[in-house]
Amino acid sequence: MLLSVLSGFILAASLPLIGKYLKEKWAILFSLLPLSLFIYFLSFQPDISDDKNLLFSYNWVPSIGVDFNFHLDGLSLLFTLLITGIGSLVFIYTAAYLKGHPYLDRFYGYLAMFMSSMLGLVLSDNIITLFIFWELTSISSFFLIGFNNDSEASRKSSLLALGVTGFGGLFLLAGMVVLGYVGGSYSILELMNATDLIQSHPLFVSILVLVFIGAFTKSAQFPFHFWLPGAMKAPTPVSTYLHSATMVKAGIYLLARFTPVLGAHEYWNSTLIIVGCITMVYAGIHAIFRLDLKGILAYSTISALGILVFLIGLGTDDALLAAAVFILVHALYKATLFLVTGIIDHETGTRDVSKLSGLNKVMLPVGIAAGLAALSNAGIPPSFGFVGKDLIYEATLHIGDWAYLLTGAAVITNICLLFAGFLAGFKPFLGKLPVTYENVHLPSPLLYVPPLILASLGILFGILPLLVDDSLIKPVVAAMLNTSSDFFHLQLWHGWSTVLLLSSITIGGGVGLYFILNPSEGLLTKATRFEPISPLSITGKITGLFHGISQGYTSVIQNGYLRYYVITILVFLSFLLGYKIFQGIDLYLNVATLSEITIYEVIVLGIMAVSIVYTVFTKSRLVAVASMGVIGYCICLVFLFYSAPDLAMTQFSIDTLTVILFVLVLYNLPKYLKLSDTGSRVRDGLLALIFGGLISLLTLEVLNEPLEREISAYYAETAYKLAKGKNVVNVILVDFRGSDTMVEIIVLAIAAIGVFSLLKLRLKSIEKE
């Protein structure tokens, strides 16, 4: 099990080695991985329908309770089959769709990574592991959306998608940690037994909010839906796989998975109903006005996700059953429509519905697939969509108080979805074939067989719901309710009822709308008029604002001029020091402790002061270097006066060397020019004097404090006894702190190598000029 979950990562990691051999002709072999996983997971199906819970445990970080515990129940099984099944078809499709693409192997690597992360996400029982896989899907989605990395729009969209889903992911992590803390366990199975404890805890509301934000960002719920249409910049296989069939359903999965833990609570239900309702109606209406096929499908996907959230929010048995069926229905038809869109785009070079028509004449199999998918999408009997739609109405009608309003919203949404499905599934294929597309020919079977398979399944399950109800759907509902029950059988025909009436209204309304409303630029313009108040542009403005602020801030603080950095540091330091010196400390001077002043010292210090002034104000390089040397020698004398002969010797030799070095390269050095204006010189001068003054004051104050001499005393006592040296300073350097000195020598050696190589280095073209 662990191997099957991680196999995608293994494949992705091995691609740098084997990828280049496979990508030319054998790209189709990549699809063996999802295919074998599909068969592997399918083999668990008998166990699942016998109500067995399969748990596979592997230790990872047991010390903090984070483990690979893979739990396979009905809900996970449905998702694993979707992930690997649609994954197989997408892998096959990609082999033809991106044939000859230079980075095809990379693409497969990302896809495989994504597949593994998604499998891990739906199988994890440990909520921290779940979160990690959740983030991995966001990251692989980022790479896939930005796959065409030379297009700016792609890069922007991928960043936006990562930003929104990553933002939600942080909330999810917080939610999971709080949930684990409140419930006392990181295992979902154990949390299910602590439902009462969790729901009565004061932190319950915060858990809900955090989990909701995570789920809503991932599943593109209003107001976080805006990243999904942008994500359609990705190559079509990605849109099919991630942004309609699997990844966006991760949020739905999360909600479904936590229904037995957090569900059946007033806040849970009302929030999900409201958010789902707004999303499905809002996105449904949006879908009508799009011209780009992928745009239509993106908005209808958001709308469908809204329906799912809404159904989970209703929370009744009927509603959860409807949700389980609709997940499958939607995955089947939406993936088909996306794949078909990809073929159209691939063959004709456009995705504009207003320009496409009559393609049936040149690519009939594709048209059949699209038509079947549109039928299922519309919920026209005998498709599987019809079964799904009936269940949705069944659920909304029996909800009680709000039944009429909610049913109305569902009807409106379904009409919009039907219209969108017809636009994508029928419009491009019926009617007259434009002259420009007469040369379009049927693509390779690798492209049109996958959508055909998916679309046929959508019809097959409708005619024979037996195939899936006991085996797939029932365990899903059982997992969401945390009980096993056998209260239903999926049926195509329910008899004459209100539900059937509603279905007819939906179909009639949608078909009517299809004939009345012709997609055109005009409609799109009308819809874009509301753009400035859409969540996308509001988010854009907010990020723009952040950008502006940080840019302004950066250009002020991080301006790239060394002296302004130095000034900033000094001003800040001066303020702090100045404040402390004048506020917190009594200034006094204990003259008695000071040593006497002798004339020769005064002379030395006087020479030093003059040299400093000379160094600063002279116009000649030579004078500056010479007076710097004088300063050094004066310091050397000071060391000598005050019992530091080693220091004096070192200072003398180093100072001499520095001056010699300066003089040696002096003729190669620039003139000693005044570059800055008087204003800045005065400013710098004042700052320098203030800082120097502060240092002097500080030094005086420190001199008043008593000195701790423990370390010196230790060296004084042990220098000879332990190290047999009479010069204590030398003993410290070469014995007690010997390794420091060795490192210092290494530093000097590196500097010497640097100097040598800089002297010997020949810059080619630049220097010859």
Binding site: G560, Y561, L562, R563, V566, I567, L570, I597, T598, E601, V602, L605, M608, A609, I612, T615, V616, A624, M628, I631, I635, F641, Y642, S643, A644, D646, L647, T650, I654, T658, L661, V665, N668, L669, P670, Y672, L673, L675, S676, A688, F691, G692, I695, T699, L703, L707, A716, E717, A719, Y720, K726, L733, D740, E744, I750, A751, V755, L758, L761, I766
Partner: protein
């Protein structure tokens, strides 16, 4: 005497910082050297100054006794002097080299990357 040293240290710091704020690379390095000297003097002074009693053990004794100059700051400063020499010599050669290539000593004009050269 400490008073005068304190003034000189302040002066070294002020001069060093003033030079570091100049636009000329050469002045920047001179500023760095002055600042380093100031810091060495500061450490030296804060270890308290003692006349005529270097931290050297008499031939007849085995420990340092009585009043003696503190060996710890001296060891620190010795290290600092030597390291700063490494820094200075490298910096001097570097600006010489940089000046040869870009023909300017003005830090504000040294803001191009290799491609612009």
């Amino acid at each position: 005497m400490e008073l005068l040293l304190v003034v000189i240290i302040g002066l070294l710091y002020a001069a060093g910082i003033y030079m570091m704020l100049r636009r000329s690379l050469l002045k920047l390095i001179i500023g760095l050297i002055l600042l380093g000297n100031g810091a060495n003097m500061l450490i030296f002074l804060l270890g308290r100054i003692v006349k005529g009693k270097p931290p050297i053990i008499d031939a007849s004794e085995s420990i340092l006794s009585g009043i003696y100059a503190d060996p710890v700051p001296q060891a620190l400063i010795l290290t600092a002097i030597v390291i700063s020499f490494g820094l200075q010599s490298f910096a001097i050669i570097l600006i010489k080299r940089a000046y040869k290539v870009v023909k300017t000593d003005d830090l504000d004009e040294m803001n191009a990357t290799d491609e612009d050269l």
